[in-house]
Subunit: 199 residues, 2 copies
């Protein structure tokens, strides 16, 4: 297809294996790289190799870390009876930025999605159950995304966790701080009303 331009074909092939990158956008990315100075490609390639060789997933909580177990799992000041279950490593970072949660995390690496073919075996659910069997955890806080996949995952987990002697909670739904009541969607507004509390 590319005549003598094998390297372009090879890169297009490699890029189109990335999620959300089809053959067309892979070609566009390849030509974009050709138009940039060589240092741009060099930097990108180094960043890829460096990350893949220095970053691993924590074997306990599956958060990203330079060495396993991660700093959070190793931190003795953390409350080991509290376990917050999230979909992605980025969600851990989001909670850590709040500096309010002092328990541990468990990263599922996705959410159940029959449409995208993601089933329970594709998520880190087995290791979650193993952590609960170890017996230290008293409360599991489900903090999946507030969308169909996240809710399905939380529903599934809450059923699965019933045999365990743990409290299972879910983070609150309500109006976001700084949000405008007028522009809130009905579901959020209904849940905010339902979850009202004494002042």
């Amino acid at each position: 297809m590319y005549g003598s331009i094998e390297p372009v074909a090879r890169l297009v092939e490699a890029l189109s294996r990335l999620p959300g990158v089809g053959p067309k956008s892979a070609q566009r990315l390849a030509f974009f790289l050709l138009r940039q100075p060589p240092e741009f490609s060099q930097n990108l390639a180094e960043a890829i190799v460096e990350m893949r060789s220095t970053v691993v997933f924590c074997t306990t909580c599956f958060h990203i870390t330079a060495e396993s177990p991660c700093q959070i799992c190793q931190d003795s000041r953390r409350d080991r009876t509290l376990l917050c279950v999230v979909e992605e490593p980025l969600d851990v970072l989001a909670f850590e930025r709040t500096m309010r949660f002092r328990g541990l995390y468990h990263v599922l690496h996705g959410a159940l999605s029959p449409i995208e073919g993601v089933g329970p075996d594709d998520l880190k659910i087995g290791p979650l159950l193993a952590r609960l069997r170890a017996g230290e955890v008293r409360e599991v806080i489900l903090a999946t995304n507030p969308n169909v996949e996240g809710d399905t995952t939380s529903q599934y987990l809450s059923q699965l966790l019933r045999p365990f002697e743990v409290r299972v909670t879910q983070i609150a739904r309500g109006l976001p701080v700084g949000g405008d009541l007028e522009y809130a969607d009905e579901v959020t507004l209904a849940q905010a009303m339902e979850n009202r509390r004494e002042m």
Copy 2:
């Protein structure tokens, strides 16, 4: 933001400089790479560096090539009086697959787009005029994409080429072979009617 996870931040930053890749999708790509075997990242990084170091743009026609001038520009059997102007290297490959065109090409590397901030100086228009001044070309065939940007570019070029003693043509618009008349859009159908020819 990433705590001790500098390499992830570096890769996300590098990825989000690619066109069409925002910070969110850059993060998703980074985590995707972490979930693949290390060879996957290694292969991708090598493909990037290999392509950028072995592939260049032809200094005459700006097509992709292993060495400049490219094989097409060097080919003495090609008709040097015919010049086909296209937007992207992929368009050259598309025409070459037809094995019908025996002239030369000129790759603009884009199309005029005020919305995306692409002006005449961003395209290889200066080198195109220089080729025409050399005097060998008798016909310029405008083969930009049949959309707003492509049409604008062709319009602009046809005006710009008026002072030159060259025939300026545009590739035909009409019904694609294998297409269904019933499902053709009105503009294509109208142009197919207008460009009808004797059988």
